[in-house]
């Protein structure tokens, strides 16, 4: 079933305009869309981060649905608490409505400091979906390195310099880590493929039990890209296989998209200021290494999805 844009636009917005996120930021786009993918009433928990600080500056709020922020590392535990309250009150007949629960966290709050709370919540089987808007660094506080920062990117805590090409390590495969909890649904999506994103969001929200979505969320400020390129850059991430689109549906791995012709990773690297040092001749081997790792990972993923 395809989503019809015209119909979606008639839906009341759960994240309204007037928030203070940067023009071109991926986070409010994906948050707004995802909440349009379902008709269930939603309670949202938000980890500390861009999406949280920029949408709820007291006494204002951009959220037109019940929303809670607790701390940085505990969005998963917080929404688990909300869901448990709901479960208990429903069982006692004190609430009749069918309600669904979402947690939004950036990659810092998800890949790094929040991974324990996330793992615990997924293992316990709460009826919730955790959505990571992955902008590949601690962007809210000025582009510090995270476990999601890709190899070769320059961040303020692992910058490129005379003897450094930026981040040495690869980003971790959080979607696979989430899937390893044997949850009913985990998926990776990108803003450029919005029908795919909406389908995944609907599935994740409406499935009974825990679900996880990992969504690439370009940061115009610290990826050093023009603010009208958010969707284009997302598309390049998909077309280069830097960010493959796949899902794990009740244990079955499915590759949702394979580029007809995989674009070279240089296409993704050369348009972003955070990689500009990689264009120096001396860093050519780094780009080759990144290309090799991406191709190997995609090959592994294809195999995993053909089982």
């Amino acid at each position: 079933m395809a989503f019809i844009l015209k119909e979606l636009l008639d839906k009341p917005e759960k994240l309204t305009s007037g928030h203070r996120l940067c023009p071109g930021c991926g986070a409010p786009i994906l948050a707004k869309w995802i909440m349009m993918a379902t008709d269930f009433p939603l309670v949202v928990a938000n980890a500390t981060g861009c999406l949280e600080v920029s949408t709820t500056i007291y006494p204002y709020t951009a959220w037109n649905t019940p929303w809670i922020h607790n701390a940085f590392e505990n969005a998963a535990a917080t929404i688990a608490g909300v869901e448990s309250a709901y479960k208990s009150l429903s069982r006692q007949g004190k609430i009749k409505k069918k309600v669904k629960f979402i947690a939004f966290g950036g990659d810092g709050g998800t890949y790094d400091i929040g991974i324990q709370a996330l793992s615990g919540a997924l293992e316990r089987g709460h009826d919730m979906v955790y959505i990571c808007y992955d902008n590949e660094g601690y962007m809210n506080t000025g582009a510090q390195r995270s476990g999601a920062t890709p190899k070769g990117a320059s961040t303020t805590t692992e910058p490129a310099g005379k003897v450094s090409y930026g981040k040495k390590m690869r980003h971790k495969d959080l979607t696979a880590i989430a899937a390893a909890h044997h949850i009913p649904y985990a998926a990776q999506a990108a803003l450029s493929n919005w029908q795919d994103l909406m389908k995944k969001a609907k599935k994740a929200i409406e499935v009974d039990g825990p679900a996880f979505l990992n969504i690439l969320s370009p940061c115009v400020r610290f990826w050093r890209i023009p603010d009208d390129q958010t969707i284009e850059i997302s598309k390049l991430a998909v077309e280069t296989n830097f960010w493959p689109l796949f899902e794990i549906d009740n244990g079955k791995w499915i590759l949702n998209y394979k580029p007809r012709e995989r674009k070279p990773i240089m296409d993704w690297i050369k348009v972003q200021g955070r990689y500009k040092h990689l264009l120096q001749e001396k860093n050519k081997p780094v780009i080759e290494e990144i290309q090799k790792e991406i191709d190997e990972y995609f090959h592994w993923l294809e195999k995993r999805c053909s089982d």
């Binding site: 709820t56 007291y58 019940p66 929303w67 922020h69 535990a77 869901e83 309250a85 709370a117």
Partner: protein, 388 residues
């Protein structure tokens, strides 16, 4: 008409939790709190409560889930000790600042390092500025009673703050004593239903909980929080009186024992009050004028009442079960601070005892009283009881 059971402090805590029947408990086991969680888990397994028990991955997640649950309008409890309390520290502050009436039995245990599983108050004292109400229990009976009292106090609309109900690890938590239990129906009727004004499950009135609050409002919100905990001074006696009617036991914020005629007074908390009381009895028999002031409510600190009792005394010794490295220990500081404005005030001597579960012996207490009578202590230094 109630019943009398042989219970440990941990079992007494679990028993009051069963009667409260919280909507949600999110907890993580830690010695010596584990028996609370295990006993309560069995109540859940046997269908004795309606509680959704969330067996979280850590104490940090325990308090985080409690915040989510309480904000969603559920009556919410947890329990912890020592390093567990330290791990939840960040969210302990958030629970109070978000004005969520969570009740948490804390089984006091020494903080690492070195790791030690036995009693002292370093865990709960590290939370004394967190905005929680803190009540100290002397024995399993008080643990049971205080948890009921705490729930009603926390949920009062003029207070709306979380409460820690402290008990001494192993000494109280694992010591069996007779405990009088109210009928389930009496507890149910007294605590009533929890009906918060604003919740995350009210879709007609969607709320935003925990927004970004900068220099233009944060200070005012903190000021409101100060007023809220001060309101506990007004509400506590009302709640204590209500509970007294049911239990026939009294719960003053501070408890006086043999104080009126006493020249020399020991101020302390929790199980040490029992030991001190025993020594007071013995010395009184010998004609010595000694008394005990037991602090039940440590936050908010009932300074006015304490001053009225202590100001005319010859000397005061404060026995703390925790240290404050580089300064005087917490209770001694409070007592000194409270007395500062009085024209005539007794000297206040500071003693630290029982760190890491070291016993407080009657001989230690006797040593203190004798020294007070002789005037052999120095107000400028801290004495350590029972240290080698």
């Amino acid at each position: 008409m109630g019943k009398r059971l042989a219970l440990t402090g941990d079992m007494a805590a679990a028993e009051s939790m069963r009667q409260i029947n919280p909507d949600v408990v999110a907890a993580y086991p830690i010695t010596p709190q584990t028996e609370i969680m295990m006993t309560f888990s069995q109540f859940v397994a046997d269908g004795l409560v309606d509680t959704e028990l969330v067996r979280v991955d850590s104490e940090h997640s325990a308090m985080s889930a409690c915040v989510g649950s309480a904000a969603a309008g559920a009556r919410t409890m947890t329990a912890t000790a020592a390093n567990g309390l330290a791990l939840m520290h960040e969210v302990v502050y958030i629970a109070a600042s978000t004005r969520l009436p969570i009740v948490m039995p804390v089984v006091n245990r020494a903080l690492s390092a070195p790791i030690n599983i036995h009693c002292d108050h370093s865990d709960t004292m590290a939370e004394r500025d967190s905005g929680w109400i803190q009540i100290f229990s002397q024995d399993p009976q008080e643990v049971y009673d205080h948890i009921l009292l705490a729930l009603k106090l926390s949920e009062h609309p003029d207070v709306l703050l979380p409460t820690m109900v402290n008990q001494d690890g192993f000494i109280t938590s694992h010591g069996v004593e007779p405990v009088e239990i109210l009928d389930d129906s009496v507890v149910k009727t007294w605590i009533g239903d929890y009906k918060p004004k604003h919740t995350l499950l009210d879709f007609e009135n969607p709320i935003t909980v925990g927004p970004l609050d900068l220099y233009d409002y944060y200070f005012e919100h903190k000021r409101q929080q100060v007023d809220a905990i001060d309101n506990a001074f007004k509400i506590y006696p009302q709640v204590a009186k209500e509970l007294s009617k049911l239990t026939k036991r009294e719960y003053p914020m501070i408890e006086q024992y043999n104080i009126e005629k006493a020249d020399h007074v020991i101020v302390t908390m929790a199980s040490a009050a029992g030991t001190t009381r025993y020594v007071v009895d013995q010395l009184t028999e010998k004609g010595e004028k000694v008394g005990l002031l037991k602090i039940r409510l440590f936050r908010p600190f009932p300074a006015d009442q304490i001053v009225n009792i202590l100001k005319g005394k010859k000397s005061v010794a404060v026995l703390d079960r925790s240290a404050s490295f580089g300064s005087f220990p917490p209770l001694a500081e409070e007592i000194r601070n409270a007395l500062y404005d009085e024209k005539t005030k007794p000297p206040v001597y500071s003693f630290v005892f029982g760190l890491g579960g070291r016993d407080l012996l009657p001989s230690h207490v006797e040593h203190v009283f004798k020294g007070l009578a002789k005037g052999s202590f120095n107000t400028k230094t801290i004495e350590y009881l029972g240290v080698r």
